[in-house]
């Protein structure tokens, strides 16, 4: 294990692949952190973000995935029947048994000749699906594969997580590099068994692994994956116009960026957590959609996700000329963020099913 040279760690498809279309989704409701603080701490103490997104009563990971995927397909402009995989990564699939992905595939007209499956790896289920899609297209088994990371995360009332656990995500149609708005040059993953955060079967709310969240989990895995990726590609922070790291709160991605030598300017366009919260499987990748909304051809982007349990996926992405002609074909990430209705804690408890009705 330890004698792997970093060169060999890079996952690089034999056929170059990229993002042919991308789409974001954020529900419209916002719960200010001050509201949670008002209920649980009497308004004292700091809050980790400004506000978080909350899904409407008729939304779930399936409906939100459908909208993000519709945006991705609008930008891609391809026939849905050419898509040969629909993979949805989430820790809040509506069903314990019955795939979210078949609902999405059906709604988008991708059925019946397609792979479909749900992925779970805490907050990195979406990027895991992206890596799989890269392999699927890169091996020439398929022309296009749809990878989605989407969540409607729940934190226990009063728990620190309640401030940030939010809803949203993104969809990426992975296809041949020559059709891409952004080429994914390579990827690399770093995974260990680390019990920082978990939710047992049938439990509504997750548990923290004592104080594992920060150092042994988030920072260790992101920096290890990122540094290995930089080494393997012989690049440094300055080679990238933008970077996005999994964003569970405002502080963590800023710190990890600094540790890796990235400036706050490089992460600013993708740093959405202060205004939408931690969208879990959607967190890193919705940062990427926000970056693609503003990037220029030739720009290099580093994306590193993190999922508890734990692991990180690092991606090197190069924007192409094609982005300019495709990105306005669907609503931008910031448009979803601007579409905002503030709610109070009482409305939030009702919308999130926290009121006991029977």
């Amino acid at each position: 294990m330890t004698d792997k040279s970093t060169d060999n760690l890079l996952l690089k498809p034999s056929r170059p692949v990229g993002i042919v279309g991308y789409g974001a989704y954020v529900p419209r409701y916002r719960l200010p952190a001050s509201e949670i603080s008002r209920i649980w701490t009497g308004g004292t103490g700091g809050v980790p973000i400004q506000e978080k997104s909350v899904p409407g009563p008729d939304e779930d990971t399936a409906t939100m995935s459908i909208e993000a995927a519709r945006n991705a397909l609008a930008r891609a402009g391809i026939d849905p029947e050419e898509i040969r995989a629909v993979w949805v990564g989430s820790e809040s699939h509506p069903y314990a048994v019955k795939p979210t992905s078949t609902v999405v595939a059906e709604a988008l007209g991708i059925v019946p000749f397609t792979q479909a499956g749900d992925w779970e790896f805490a907050c990195k289920a979406g990027t895991e699906a992206m890596v799989a899609a890269m392999g699927f297209v890169g091996s020439e088994m398929a022309e296009y594969a749809l990878a989605i990371g989407m969540d409607t995360a729940q934190g226990r009332p009063g728990d620190a997580l309640e401030y940030t656990a939010s809803a949203g995500g993104a969809a990426f149609l992975i296809g041949p590099a020559e059709e891409s708005v952004a080429v994914i040059e390579s990827t690399l993953s770093y995974v260990t068994d680390t019990p920082d955060f978990f939710r047992r079967e049938y439990q509504k709310y997750p548990e923290h692994g004592q104080r594992f969240t920060g150092e042994p989990a988030y920072f260790k895995h992101i920096t290890s994956a990122a540094q290995a990726y930089l080494d393997a590609t012989d690049t440094v922070a300055e080679d990238y116009q933008y970077a996005v790291f999994h964003q569970p709160n405002t502080k963590f991605p800023g710190r990890v960026a600094a540790q890796l030598g990235f400036s706050q300017e490089q992460i600013a366009p993708g740093l959405l957590v202060p205004v939408i919260g931690n969208t879990y499987s959607g967190a890193a990748i919705i940062g990427l959609t926000a970056i693609l909304d503003v990037a220029q051809p030739g720009d290099q982007v580093l994306m590193v996700s993190f999922g508890s349990g734990a692991g990180s996926d690092a991606f090197g992405i190069r924007v192409t000329e094609r982005l300019l002609e495709r990105r306005d074909l669907a609503p931008q990430t910031q448009a979803y963020i601007a579409r905002r209705t503030e709610i109070d804690y009482a409305t939030y408890t009702r919308m999130r099913g926290k009121l006991v009705l029977k």
């Binding site: 409407g56 909208e67 074909l329």
Partner: protein
């Protein structure tokens, strides 16, 4: 439980798939196989754009069984840009004023759970929301 009936309608429900009459080009939703315009057979599938405008609307407070969790909610007659009218809920409207003529677009949302709210199959289908998230450009 009525799983088969929701299942067989999924294309219409999820994506507004109706029909276009091969004889007179009339767009038909819900699909009815006989063109209401010319009376000829019409079975060619047609996916509607999902754009339309509010023809009329109201807010329901006394919800039927299975919909109480969503009440109060707003329902509307929506005139699709291709011609047909559909009955559907409006969503994502909050306290925004709804008006006759307001442009709306289709989204796929949860309609209800079949049977038990927590255990039953989820029924997804079209709803409409104010057209406020427009792409900056249109596809050719």
């Amino acid at each position: 439980m009525e799983i088969p009936r929701h299942w067989r309608l999924k294309k219409q429900r999820y994506a507004l798939v109706g029909e276009v009459c091969p004889h007179c080009e009339a767009k038909i939703f819900p699909p009815r196989d006989v063109c209401p315009e010319c009376g000829d057979e019409a079975k060619t599938l047609f996916e509607f754009s999902g754009r339309g405008e509010v023809y009329s609307y109201t807010t329901l407070h006394n919800a039927p069984a299975g919909y109480q969790a969503y009440a109060p909610y707003t329902v509307a007659l929506v005139k699709l840009e291709e011609g047909p009218m559909v009955t559907a809920q409006l969503t994502d409207i909050d306290n925004q004023p709804v008006e006759v003529g307001m442009p709306v677009e289709m989204v796929t949302r949860k309609l209800r759970a079949e049977g038990d709210d927590d255990r039953g199959m989820l029924v997804y289908g079209y709803k409409f929301r104010p057209m406020e998230l427009q792409p900056l450009a249109a596809a050719d």
